[in-house]
């Protein structure tokens, strides 16, 4: 049971950004996607969830061709949270999370969802990110950390098997970054969700990921467990010579600027 891409090629308006990417995200696995700006990280997650079309190659979810799935099957398999979410109106937390639940529950005649299933799904999703107390608030009145948790709840309300998050810690302070990664770690253990996170923070990736993909210029330059990927050679080839590796007291590798 995995989300797989095989020889994936994708880009924008004829410009190829990703070159034959092979990727596997298993259920319950925590994968971090690293790489410099413009390396194709966001393009990759957007292609995996169907926001961008494939130029060639294939994306498979649990053995089925993703392109052949219905909309309902897609939302039950993959949940995607982009870097920026900008609602055009002032959504309440309840409405924002309900959108995720509603699209994943089988519609009845005239598109009417099972309303009686929506409220429990909203509550469950908010509980899984410890945000039940925010349910009556407006999304645009929340702090950055609260907003991220609610947006994550909206995606979790789809009850997806795989979660693709594009820089979920952007604009969050250190405490909230750690809290979010802890929450994702719990989710993958408790619900066997496969988590793929795009991040620029190598230390967070080294601490939480089972597997790291290092992307540069649309190619995977390194893939494997953090200890194998985060080394001086890979760092230098992806980010230049201005970093050095340190070994922390707990044996974990850390990255600091020179």
């Amino acid at each position: 049971m995995a989300l797989k891409s095989t020889a994936l090629i994708a880009g924008y308006r004829g410009r190829e950004v990703l070159h034959r990417i092979d990727l596997v995200l298993e259920q319950g696995q925590f994968v971090c996607l690293l790489g410099p700006n413009g390396s194709g990280k966001s393009t990759l997650v957007r292609t995996l969830c169907g926001v961008l079309p494939l130029s060639s190659g294939q994306v498979q979810v649990d053995g089925a061709n993703f392109a052949a799935l219905t909309a309902l099957e897609r939302v039950r398999k993959i949940g995607f949270l982009p870097q920026e979410v900008s609602p055009s109106f002032s959504f309440s937390v309840r409405d924002a999370v309900a959108l995720g639940a509603r699209c994943a529950i089988t519609p009845r005649w005239l598109g009417k969802a099972h309303e009686e299933k929506i409220e429990p799904a909203i509550r469950l999703a908010l509980a899984s990110v410890q945000a039940e107390d925010l349910i009556e608030r407006q999304l645009d009145h929340l702090s950055g950390g609260e907003r991220r948790r609610v947006l994550l709840a909206s995606v979790l309300a789809q009850a997806p098997k795989y979660l693709l998050l594009d820089e979920p810690t952007a604009m969050l302070d250190l405490e909230h970054q750690v809290a979010l990664f802890n929450r994702l770690d719990e989710l993958r253990h408790q619900q066997s969700i496969g988590v793929l996170v795009v991040t620029h923070d190598l230390n967070l990736a080294a601490r939480w990921a089972d597997h790291i993909l290092l992307l540069k210029d649309g190619h995977i330059v390194a893939a494997g467990p953090p200890k194998e990927v985060i080394n001086q050679q890979h760092l230098q080839s992806a980010f230049g010579p201005h970093f050095e590796l340190v070994t922390l007291s707990n044996g974990q590798t850390g990255v600091i600027p020179k």
Partner: protein, 332 residues
């Protein structure tokens, strides 16, 4: 849709019927309603008394007002969602300017009136649809997120310039006709004229109603909507065309009547929330009610020194403007 929303929509439907019913008895001459309705329903027109003839004159404009208000409010709600701009109106993409330009061409050049009295609405409809297609074509070639809005605003200015040019070249008699067109009117001659926009409105609604849950997702975030299986580009094009059809179909027969498409969706969201399953039907009924009441004010107002009707466009602006400001202040 939850029970509260269903009750609200059903309630608005009943209220719009009641208001339409009572609006027939008011005007420059009041009529004894029940007797007039009885005659209108049961007797041939040759046996009607004066009051029933007045009822028969008022009914078409009430029907046209209801259809126009409903269509413009619905188009406004859809435009605000698709353009992600709470100030968007049915006229933002230049449809009203283009429609006016088409109608003015006929008014200024009688030789173009090859379809008789239907020429102005038909030319208006054609130029409105041309404008809509141009906006979609131009914006599809733009890489900008706001390409659609900018293309619409630019075409609005271009057709506006065309309108000014035709008005500049027109003689005073033609100018008076153009002035009346610009102020808007729901004064339909008979029930056939009143129902003339119906095919366009029905076509527009046929595209919008099956896509209400997609509109919810689009209002939230387009990337998340795409990941949730909404074909964003295709649906946006279809929904813009649908809102454009609603607008063009109405403008062709009533002229550009402002504020309904801006005010009503905002007021209705206050009660329905953001779900389009409740918002769009409620907008249609509320827009119809608002326009019938605006027409009633227009018909019953006596301007100082003149015993004539106020143009409905002025009424919608005078009533709508302060109400909209009140809504803004309440939200703040």
């Amino acid at each position: 849709m939850n029970r509260g929303s269903l009750n609200l929509i059903a309630g608005l439907g009943v209220i719009s019927l009641l208001i339409a019913f009572f609006a027939t008895c008011f005007g420059t001459i009041s009529i004894h309603q029940m007797e007039a309705w009885r005659q209108w329903l049961s007797l041939p027109s040759s046996q009607w008394d004066q009051q029933t003839h007045i009822l028969a004159l008022r009914l078409p404009r009430i029907v046209l007002a209801w259809l126009a208000g409903g269509a413009l409010a619905t188009a406004g709600a859809v435009m605000q969602t698709l353009l992600r701009n709470s100030l968007a109106t049915p006229f933002t993409l230049g449809i009203a300017s283009a429609g006016s330009f088409g109608a003015f061409l006929v008014l200024a050049m009688p030789g173009l009136a090859i379809f008789g009295s239907m020429s102005a609405p038909l030319y208006s409809l054609l130029t409105s649809l041309l404008c809509l297609l141009l906006v979609l074509k131009i914006s599809s070639r733009s890489n900008r997120a706001d390409g659609l809005l900018l293309a619409g605003i630019t075409l609005n200015f271009l057709f506006g310039a065309g309108v000014m040019l035709v008005r500049y070249l027109a003689d005073p008699f033609q100018l008076a006709s153009m002035e009346r067109w610009m102020l808007g009117s729901v004064n339909a001659v008979n029930i056939n004229t009143a129902l003339a926009p119906l095919p366009w409105i029905a076509l527009g609604l046929a595209f919008i109603l099956p896509r209400l849950s997609a509109l919810d997702q689009l209002a939230f975030d387009e990337e998340i909507a795409a990941a949730r299986g909404v074909p964003v580009k295709r649906y946006k094009t279809q929904l813009l065309l649908a809102a454009g059809l609603l607008t063009a179909g109405v403008v062709a027969y009533t002229g550009p009547i402002g504020f309904v498409g801006l005010l009503v969706p905002h007021a209705v969201r206050w009660f329905t929330g953001l779900r389009h399953g409740a918002l769009i039907p409620a907008c249609f009924f509320s827009g119809g009610i608002f326009m019938i009441l605006a027409d009633l004010v227009a018909r019953t107002s006596e301007i100082a020194g003149r015993n004539s009707e106020l143009p409905i466009g002025i009424v919608t602006a005078i009533v709508g403007g302060p109400f909209f400001l009140l809504l803004l202040m309440r939200k703040n």
